[in-house]
């Protein structure tokens, strides 16, 4: 069983919600990333989404655009990021790591070379923002053959036939984008998320994580009540931006921020078994 599958199964058995933090690899500098990943786990992360920086992040708002720019200023590249995951794995064999980013860095290195190296480094899944399911034929078999789960986005604009097609190809979990917009947008419409998740549920048993617009305990709690997991990205990256010149302070701050979200999620089921 893949790490993602067993992690979500365990959470379900405990009646707990997955907390999925996102940070951009190499932000604000490459040598802090592995330490931040461990800090996220200490703060209560169940799955880590590790962003692969891209020069043209067309689905991201200003916060993650700047994170990409900071990481790229240090030349953070795909192979280097896989080395970070391998280093993380040396002391954490359990927390699933999903690489999130755009297709071109992977395409440039070659999907076969990437998949092989990613598997060896301990990567569990891949979420490629600009890989639509219609174009996925050239990628999925290779990724799957190397034990990588393929996580896909679903959006408020996705009609039922697309949801069904995507659910057939996806594994690990599905990532529902809570709103029409880019990452880091502040408005969250809980009622519409509830309706969308109900619609998606009719097509799949995969865990449903929700991202975009979750930035604090209140929004995490509201979404946690509906979904199997919540993804928090820009709110964490904004902390990294704020403290970019004091990287030594970052692990503590991120752990603390995540712990507050963890507490909010766990308050949804006060009797749930602890890990």
């Amino acid at each position: 069983m893949s790490r993602l599958k067993s992690r979500f199964a365990a959470l379900k058995a405990q009646n707990r919600k997955a907390l999925v933090p996102y940070i951009t690899a190499g932000d604000p500098q490459p040598d802090v990333t592995v330490g931040l990943m461990h800090a996220l786990v200490r703060g209560g992360a169940d799955v880590i989404e590790l962003g692969v920086p891209f020069s043209d992040p067309m689905a991201d708002g200003p916060t993650i655009q700047l994170a990409c720019e900071r990481a790229l200023k240090h030349g953070t590249g795909l192979w280097q990021i896989l080395d970070m995951v391998a280093e993380f794995r040396r002391t954490d064999a359990d927390t699933p790591v999903v690489l999130m980013g755009y297709l071109n860095p992977l395409e440039t290195r070659g999907v076969e070379a990437f998949a092989k190296k990613a598997q060896a480094s301990g990567v569990d899944g891949v979420l490629l923002v600009d890989l639509a399911v219609e174009e996925a034929d050239g990628y999925l078999p290779t990724l799957r053959a190397h034990g990588l789960d393929c996580i896909f986005l679903l959006a408020p604009t996705s009609p039922d036939d697309r949801i069904a097609a995507i659910a057939r190809e996806a594994s690990g979990y599905l990532y529902y984008v809570s709103l029409k917009g880019v990452t880091g947008t502040a408005t969250l419409d809980v009622a519409s998320v509830a309706a969308a998740l109900a619609r998606i549920r009719r097509h799949t048993d995969l865990p449903l994580a929700v991202g975009f617009g979750i930035r604090d305990a209140a929004s995490a709690r509201a979404i946690g009540a509906l979904a199997d997991g919540v993804v928090v990205g820009s709110a964490l990256v904004a902390e990294i931006e704020r403290l970019q010149l004091q990287p030594q302070a970052l692990p503590g701050i991120l752990q603390e921020k995540l712990a507050s979200l963890r507490a909010a999620l766990d308050s949804l089921a006060p009797d749930a078994a602890q890990r």
Partner: protein, 399 residues
């Protein structure tokens, strides 16, 4: 030869396709369905043709540049005068088509990206005429070097939003326009200015621009009783080139040359010639030749011409390159600048810096082809917008 591209999924061989975030997939499907329904609808075609005739002023002339021909020696130079279109470039052919689509889809707001500002002006123009709200994204650097067009857009009622991210040029403007579209997808139509972006844009922009080549076929037959020996057009994203080339693809005896921006030389890092010096990758929703580093990060480009300063190219050009049907070459900044002056002084026509790249290559090709042959160069835009750039380069103060 038979040529039937793109396929149903929007592919030109291995190129093209739809590489965008999920939120945009359904809007793209709706756009494609609407376009496929309307493109053969006689009422839609009549409306488009009427606008091209009465609003744009088509057909644009095919002009024999006799002094240029004499001066260069060799093949006759004929200029397809897209610079005489309303708004001064070929861009308006496409914005009229897309604005009609927007109207049919019930959208009330259009957005556009622009490099040189020609597509922004053409979008603002059609928005003014149809009473649509218009927002144009433009790299902050391009806002500086194309200030006359920025003012023109504002006069037309458009909002120009300078883009400060990345390299602050056309590619970043396109990123920002895509972000706007994803956010305002319910009421907004994204008018892409070139034959790039996700399917169906490369197809529909090509179709709207193909009026250029269709007219050249008809005009050539009338003016010199046969078809040209060679076609030349500059290639940034490649919409004026596709517009000229596409109707000629089946004419095997007509050679075609796309001229990329060689900047300071394609052997240096300072150029914008992905077909000449790049390799296939994925950018802005399609697979095509791009300029990227070994980590897949998109490289900054350089060209004297803002409209060619783009690290990608329309996917159909990638396919026409690989299939060998079109030859892709380049002209440097200096060659384009020299051609700009030569055309201005010999023919009394001030060309856009973009189009000057095609003129520059015509100068090399004409003697090679020799007398008795004919070259049609797409003069895709007029150069009024560039006079400040050129004055500055040459150390002349206009204030």
């Amino acid at each position: 030869m038979s040529y039937d591209y793109p396929d149903k999924k929007g592919h030109f061989g291995p190129y093209g396709g739809q590489f965008v975030a999920e939120t945009l997939m359904e809007p793209l499907r709706q756009l494609e369905a609407a376009y496929l329904r309307l493109k053969d609808d006689p009422a839609f075609i009549a409306e488009f043709d009427r606008d091209l005739a009465d609003y744009v002023g088509r057909p644009s002339p095919l002009y024999h540049a006799e002094r240029l021909t004499r001066n260069w020696g060799g093949a006759e130079i004929w200029l397809k005068r897209e610079d005489l279109n309303h708004t001064g470039a070929h861009k308006v052919n496409n914005t009229i088509g897309q604005a009609l689509l927007a109207k049919h889809l019930g959208k009330t707001r259009i957005i556009a990206e622009t490099g040189a500002g020609q597509h922004g002006v053409a979008s603002a123009t059609i928005a003014a005429r149809l009473g649509l709200k218009c927002v144009v994204y433009m790299g902050a650097e391009d806002v500086q070097r194309q200030s006359p067009n920025v003012y023109r857009m504002k006069l037309l009622g458009a909002e120009v939003r300078p883009v400060h991210s990345g390299t602050k040029t056309l590619k970043d403007a396109m990123n920002e326009a895509l972000r706007d579209w994803v956010t305002n997808v319910d009421d907004t139509f994204y008018v892409i200015g070139t034959v790039a972006g996700p399917h169906p844009y490369p197809m529909l922009v090509r179709d709207f621009q193909s009026v250029i080549g269709r007219e050249v076929i008809e005009q050539s037959a009338r003016k010199f009783g046969t078809q040209p020996d060679a076609l030349l057009a500059c290639v940034g994203g490649g919409s004026n080139a596709i517009g000229l080339f596409y109707p000629f693809i089946g004419y095997d005896k007509v050679a075609m040359y796309g001229v990329e921006a060689g900047g300071k030389g394609v052997e240096t890092p300072d150029h914008a010639a992905p077909l000449t010096a790049g390799k296939p990758g994925i950018l802005h929703g399609n697979r095509t030749y791009i300029m990227a580093d070994e980590n897949g990060q998109i490289l900054g480009t350089h060209s004297i011409s803002a409209g060619l300063d783009y690290p990608g190219v329309g996917p159909e050009h990638s396919w026409l390159k690989d299939s060998g049907r079109v030859s892709y070459v380049s002209a440097t900044d200096d060659e384009a600048l020299a051609a700009f002056h030569e055309l201005t002084r010999l023919e009394g026509i001030i060309p856009a810096l973009e189009s000057s790249h095609a003129i520059a290559y015509a100068k090399k090709l004409a003697p090679k082809l020799g007398a008795g042959k004919r070259i049609v160069v797409n003069l895709s835009g007029r150069g009024d917008k560039d006079i400040f750039t050129i004055a500055k380069l040459e150390g002349i103060s206009l204030t």
